[in-house]
Amino acid sequence: MKQARTWGSAALLFLVTTVLCGVLYTAACTGIAQLAFPYQANGSIIEVDGTKYGSELVGQQFSDDDHMWGRVMSPSTGTFTDAEGNDILWYGASNLSPAGDDFANAVQDRIDQIHAAHPEKGDEPIPSDLVTNSGSGFDPHISPAAAEYQVERLAKNTGKSVSEIRDIVERCTEQPQLGILGEARVNVLKVNLMLDGILQ
């Protein structure tokens, strides 16, 4: 008898917590978020003249000479498709061991690619985040050192002056929060939207 009551209470508690923590909690959070921070709560989407160019928080792959490059990415298809069944791009991390040969080869390929596009830099060492994959696979940022490394190439290929490029980079740079938290970082998508004249 007691056993049956215990199991009954257990089942009922499962249902009650599903309502409390699943439905009510999620609804309360969504309500507060949508009222207080609608831009963030809906994905920080950069929309200009009706076109959605991406989320501030999801990086895209850039390899054109007139665009700033971000972290190394491994884009793939097959994870998502749109309503018509067309492939949509999605990303993942490399998960390579940084002590392995596969990794050493990948880094060397990237170094060669960067050297080829930045002849003016000569043998100057390349900032480490420019030659590595990120944790998420879609890191939207790059370090100020990695941005500065590309400034002369961007000036050469966009027709803008070096100081104009530096100004754009500066406007897309966030400093460590409260002075000490995290790292200074440059939002690559925003820089490229400004370089293309889409974002002011």
Binding site: Q3, T6, W7, S9, A10, A11, L13, V16, C21, G22, Y25, T26, A28, T30, I32, A33, Q40, A41, N42, S44, I45, K52, Y53, S55, V58, F62, S63, D64, H67, P75, T77, N86, I88, L89, S94, N95, L96, P98, A99, D102, F103, V107, P125, I126, S128, T132, N133, S134, G135, D139, I142, S143, A145, P176, L178, I180, L181, E183, R185, N192
Partner: protein
């Protein structure tokens, strides 16, 4: 360099400063005393008791308490399994995702009911909003509540003088959920959203790519103007959904299962260094508070401080090791000086698998916190840590998740080690083993040993079974020694109810889903049984007066012995396996 050191200091200081007041609050809540939320939440609490037909004044003996905990977990397991299998038929599924395969549903349901949150699936592409919010999020709340409940049952057994009652399981779970977890989760959610984490039930956004890419015959991504391209892709996805709310409780409840496959490395889950601070503190906040709660509960705060000191020493040692090796990087990355690894204008060090906004500092802190706690969420890919940097998380998990550990379960695991230490120290000096004024008899010792060796036994068994199957090789992402580390990490993560991964390892095969599922179940419930038996046995023992012959369990010598005992058990069981994986890889790298 000073900035980095300052940041490490801020994290550690805030953690302790917040945990101490929280510990006082938790004790009041669990005793049903008046708190700031009494007026708002007690009526809700009473409604819950009426709904689930429980008399809140009913006291349970250890058997009833145990059966209640197991019954609740069993019902949760069945319920979550059903939700995952039937996902395709349930509402709130804008992406039209199908139900999971039976082995993946089993693995996932077990993983969340055991507070592990091992993820053999990728959340944003495999689970509907219904499964995420009504399935997983609910377990993220109730499993830490079960941990707190069982821990307090043990506390009550330890201080009781002959009274057989350990409290009421249903009341304990309800109070922990309502008064502790929900309010904290609301605060963390709001900060997360403010910093940029999505919280909605919209369809996924599809956005225009600034640089379209091509896909060749074989499905590889190439330049859009490459002649081999047979298709052009000009759209990317931005996953939406109720992310912030689930992320908040996944951190606070030492759950760790990310909304997205890449967990808190995703800028959608963890957008800024400030959100990182809040989430990282959430990883360890309640487990640290539990230790101070213990001192308050047994009315001798020095006991809590001694256990805290032992755990904190181990945490610091782990953190320093990870930070040093990650900041050094590897020769493969430095590429003979072609890559700049210094700190000027960048984080430097081993940036593979790390996010720019976090750098080495925030990533090392997170790796140490998440594996000290049995949380297992990640903000960087542990698979891409340096060999030694990646070995430390394995050790933290393999020690039995007792360096603060999971909510509730970390401390009851550590109390197993405390009893073991008391016993061995007593043997060394020829005294009767006593803890908190109670004699330790063979029965208590048996339970303590079960608590101490369950995790390492399960890890070695799991890693052994997977290594025997030739097909496991297909799951590896890296060859050689690092490949073995991937298998070992998976077995350790499941055996420690942690849930983090060397994520290159493809764990979604029927065999691995089953092996890890069984490991997770055993590591959650064997200790719960042992703790309830232990509490039941302790509460009947009379208190003995302290004498000059009583071994102190709150001085520096005892802290030293306790740390030694934890390391000894860990080293004896895990050293051979570690030597084959990360240690061998490190030696190969430097030689």
């Amino acid at each position: 360099m000073t900035d980095e050191l300052l940041e490490y200091g801020v994290y550690l200081a805030l953690l302790v400063a917040l945990a101490i007041p929280l510990s006082a609050y938790i004790n009041k809540v669990m005793a049903g005393e008046k708190t700031v939320f009494t007026r708002v939440l007690v009526p809700v609490e009473n409604v819950v008791y009426r709904c689930i037909r429980v008399d809140k004044n009913e006291d349970m003996g250890w058997k009833r308490y145990l059966v209640s905990a197991l019954a609740f977990s069993a019902v949760s397991l069945a319920g979550l399994f059903a939700i995952l299998m039937l996902q395709g038929l349930l509402p709130l599924n804008p992406e039209g995702l199908p139900g999971l395969s039976w082995d993946l549903a089993f693995n996932t349901a077990v993983s969340f009911v055991t507070n592990t949150n091992w993820q053999a699936y990728s959340g944003e592409s495999a689970l509907s909003y219904f499964s995420q919010a009504l399935g997983l999020t609910v377990q993220n709340f109730v499993t830490p509540a079960v941990g707190i409940a069982v821990l307090f049952a043990l506390f009550r057994g330890m201080v009781s003088e002959g009274h057989p009652g350990l409290g009421n399981f249903f009341v304990d779970v309800t109070r922990a959920t309502l008064f502790v977890l929900i309010p904290l989760a609301l605060v963390v959610t709001v900060v997360n959203v403010w910093q940029g984490s999505p919280q909605n039930i919209n369809d996924y956004e599809t956005v225009q790519l600034l640089e379209p890419v091509g896909v060749d015959e074989a499905g590889n991504i190439v330049d859009a103007d490459d002649p081999a391209a047979v298709e052009t892709i000009d759209q990317a996805t931005v996953p939406m959904g109720p992310q912030a709310s689930q992320v908040a409780i996944k951190q606070l409840g030492t759950n760790g299962g990310g909304y997205n496959g890449v967990n808190s490395a995703s800028a959608l889950e963890n957008p800024t260094p400030l959100s990182n601070l809040i989430q990282c503190l959430s990883l360890l906040l309640i487990p640290v508070a539990c230790v101070f709660s213990f001192g308050r509960f047994v009315a001798d705060r020095r006991q809590g401080r001694a256990v805290f000191a032992a755990m904190f020493i181990l945490l610091l040692a782990a953190l320093v090791t990870i930070a040093v090796f990650e900041q050094m990087g590897t020769p493969q990355l430095a590429a003979d000086g072609q890559v700049y690894m210094g700190l000027d204008g960048q984080s430097g060090g081993n940036m593979e698998g790390k996010e720019t906004r976090f750098g080495v500092t925030d990533s090392s802190l997170w790796a140490a916190f998440t594996t000290a706690a049995s949380n297992g969420s990640v903000n960087a890919m542990h698979d891409s840590f340096t060999p030694i940097g990646g070995m430390v998380p394995i050790i933290l998990m393999a020690l039995g998740e007792v360096v603060f550990g999971g909510v509730g379960c970390g401390l009851y695991g550590m109390l197993g080690f405390v009893i073991l230490t008391v016993f061995i120290a007593g043997l060394m000096v020829g005294r009767t083993p006593e803890y908190l004024g109670k004699k330790i008899s063979p029965k208590e010792m048996r339970m303590a040993v079960i608590l101490c060796i369950t995790t390492p036994l399960l890890i070695l068994a799991g890693a052994g079974v997977m290594s025997f199957d030739p097909a496991t090789v297909d799951s590896l992402n890296n060859p050689g020694m690092h490949g073995f580390s991937e298998v070992l990490y998976a077995a350790t993560s499941a055996g420690g109810n942690n849930g983090s991964a060397f994520a290159g390892f493809n764990a979604n095969t029927p065999l691995i889903n089953m092996v890890l599922g069984l490991e997770m179940l055993a590591n959650r419930f064997v200790p719960i049984v042992a703790v309830c038996v232990l509490a039941g046995s302790l509460c009947t023992r009379p208190k003995v007066a302290t004498s000059a012959g009583t071994l102190s369990t709150s001085n520096a010598m005892f802290v030293f012995l306790l740390v030694l005992m934890v390391l000894l058990v860990g080293a004896l069981t895990m050293f051979p396996a570690l030597a084959l994986g990360p240690v061998a890889e490190q030696l190969t790298m430097v030689l």
